[in-house]
Symmetry: C2
Subunit: 438 residues, 2 copies
């Protein structure tokens, strides 16, 4: 494939990817009441071997030839790195501090239960060939699976809560703080797994020391370095082009640093976003990045992820059983555990169920984690495909389940706006991205 051909095909691929995400996203929203992102996750799977490749293998090979995969991979990495930067920019560190009792209980069980369940089922999964990579030892496999189960679609959760005006309700603050703690913990565990899987102790030490040094520099130095930019943005009332350039350059450096240290670009983006001083700077950064990242780059990630998803691999009774077991365990260990914790710390049943339903959605975050796992050779395509299914199902469940267990009653009590508020309002460009800054 010549360079020119690759470039020509890239425009067609982008057209197909954007169109598929738009159409499936719209259908999911219109007929299933699902957020856009759910439709896009499914659209990605549909573009891969699980649907498009199954009905029209030649057309699929023509549109997404092997030679163009490298390109899609890099664009997907850029998209997901920038997306995590946007998520970081909207991350409210205050959530960690808000609400003690219940929040601690919910977040703790939202981490502890998934890892406990991972301890129980990972030995069994390791015995089934083709799920975990051959060289992965039990502790790392367990931690990885635990992180996969523990992760929460934090940006989506925040969006649902914000859209329905629940940010200041007990359910809202509880779910937001627990979700933030759980996601942070799951990412830290993933970082540990990736670091410890390096070829030899030297690599692991580099990764761990690099990550610690990075976090220290970022939290101690970066806010001070960025303070003048933030002040200038406040003074001018908007982000200047030079400042935007500096932030983008910094993002690229941070993504590179975390990649080269042996972790992943997403950590660099996310941490930079978290430490950026709040105000006009973060608001305008998100406003400038979100439309293009969410509409053009992130769909490439969904597509790349879908190209690796082969649902046809789940082709025996044994593997179907494994898939169902993972699904059931995930719902139980995350949704169930969070519900129980909320209930035990005095929340009413409706609130506790609502929290369980929201915390159980894994969305895009799960896709990011398992794509890193596949790329780094932790898991094999079969387990990857099962986890994609788990991510899609738990995310699909969230909205209707939340509506069923909490929304209807809350609306009767007048606590909640009309269900379709979010849809009736002019669709915001932020429709499926990061939570709003406080």
């Amino acid at each position: 494939m010549s360079t020119a051909e690759m470039s020509i095909m890239f425009f067609l691929q982008m057209a197909a990817i954007i169109a598929a995400c738009r159409i499936v996203g719209w259908l999911a929203k219109r007929y299933l009441g699902q957020p856009q992102v759910v439709g896009e996750m499914i659209a990605g799977v549909m573009l891969g071997p699980s649907l498009f490749g199954l009905i029209a293998p030649e057309a699929q090979q023509w549109l997404f030839p092997q030679a163009s995969r490298d390109l899609l991979f890099v664009v997907a990495q850029l998209g997901v790195g920038l997306y995590m930067f946007i998520v970081g920019l909207g991350f409210d560190v205050g959530h960690f501090r808000a609400k003690a009792g219940s929040a601690a209980a919910v977040s703790l069980s939202g981490i502890a239960a998934p890892f406990l369940l991972a301890v129980l089922i990972t030995p069994w999964l390791l015995q089934t060939p083709g799920l975990f990579a051959a060289h992965v030892p039990l502790p790392q496999a367990t931690l990885f699976l635990g992180a996969c189960i523990a992760i929460t679609a934090f940006p989506m959760l925040a969006r649902i809560i914000h859209e329905r005006g629940l940010s200041k309700s007990p359910l809202g603050t509880l779910a937001l703080s627990a979700g933030a703690v759980d996601d942070a913990s799951a990412w830290i565990v993933l970082a540990i797994v990736l670091a410890s899987l390096g070829a030899g102790a030297g690599v692991a030490i580099t990764a761990i020391c690099g990550a610690i040094a990075f976090v220290l520099v970022m939290t101690l130095l970066m806010p001070r370095l960025l303070a003048p930019l933030a002040r200038a943005a406040e003074k001018q009332g908007k982000l200047s082009q030079p400042a935007f350039g500096v932030m983008l350059g910094l993002f690229m450096l941070c993504a590179f640093a975390m990649d080269i240290a042996g972790l992943h670009a997403v950590f660099g983006g996310f941490i930079l976003g978290v430490v950026t001083p709040r105000g006009v700077l973060t608001q305008d950064l998100r406003k400038s990045l979100e439309p293009f990242v969410v509409t053009a780059l992130l769909p490439v990630f969904f597509c790349y992820s879908g190209l690796n998803t082969q649902l046809t691999m789940v082709n025996s009774a044994g593997l179907v059983l494994v898939t169902l077991a993972i699904l059931a365990a995930s719902i139980l260990a995350k949704g169930g555990a969070c519900w129980a914790a909320a209930r035990l710390t005095g929340q009413d049943n409706s609130t506790a169920l609502g929290i369980g339903a929201l915390m159980n959605a894994r969305g895009l975050m799960e896709l990011i984690i398992i794509n890193i796992g596949l790329q780094r050779g932790v898991i094999e395509p079969a387990l990857f495909s099962m986890l994609v299914l788990m991510a899609v199902v738990t995310t699909l469940m969230a909205s209707p389940l939340f509506e069923f267990v909490y929304g209807r009653k809350a609306r009767e009590r007048g606590e909640l706006g009309a269900l379709h508020d979010a849809e009736a309002a002019p669709p915001a460009l932020e429709a499926h991205a990061a939570p709003p800054s406080p």
Copy 2:
């Protein structure tokens, strides 16, 4: 180079590219009073074999290995295609109609003189080996060189005029309408050259018929198809995410269509931009695209272009002579001819010189044309490098020359804001992009 390595290096490359463009752009602005884009053109050349590769060949090879060129090429195409889309969105078709007499004379001489001069010097250039590709016949070589000399940095010209509050002055309307006509003509000539260079009559006919059909569909059908989107945007007061997705998908399709027809993606982007109904739709599209395209993607184009620029190729007295001849011919045939035409149609000398100075800047538009010429095998690296030099020099000349021949006097007459108005004001995100919508 593995996929993962390519992705890791891509983040570092992007960091280096963004940093180089920012720093050189800032220096050019601060110390030379030049627009940002001039600095970025130079930064691109500096990252290539002409400077970075000259001082540190190994480091340059490490940062921009051959294996990653494909990737940079595709990102550059996407960037330049989207940039031309933005230019199209800001293109005021009214300019074609405004100002009859002088405008017609200036624009006509701004096209006729370059092509006449190309007729005179191309036979000589064709005799020098290593400038034009061996298979290119005289007529096409002449037309291509004519287009290279006739092109104007239209977005930059519009920006300078707008920044200094000259949009409604005789100079402003004259330069804007003549610049628009000249650029449109040069692009049409380029399209004809590319179409006629196809392998065999069949390919040329496909290209020409394809382009005509495309333009017809785009001008007759597209405004009607987009009318509902435009109305919805007006009604909501902003561009919705779905509408943004539709426009991006359309852009990708148009870029693909013009590429596959044998022309170039930039035509697809530009024409789509021109036919998009004006209003909130076009304003918000530009606002959503510009920051990322101008700050992150376009610099990749400058860098890719710079990687192909080998100023060391101009290494003999003969080639230096050729370079100087091209430079002198370009300035004479464009700046000189436009000045003469304005003078002959009754403009005072200061206005006529000002118009000549502005029309003579070629900027980014020249880089786009010659990159297409190099990529399609019309010109060879040596002529490419000479034309890069011509583009940089004529663009560098524009601001100080304009200030010298027109600005000082106009300011004395109170027609012009302070020179540094544009810098003192909060730097807009649009600082070096498309002209504002009317």
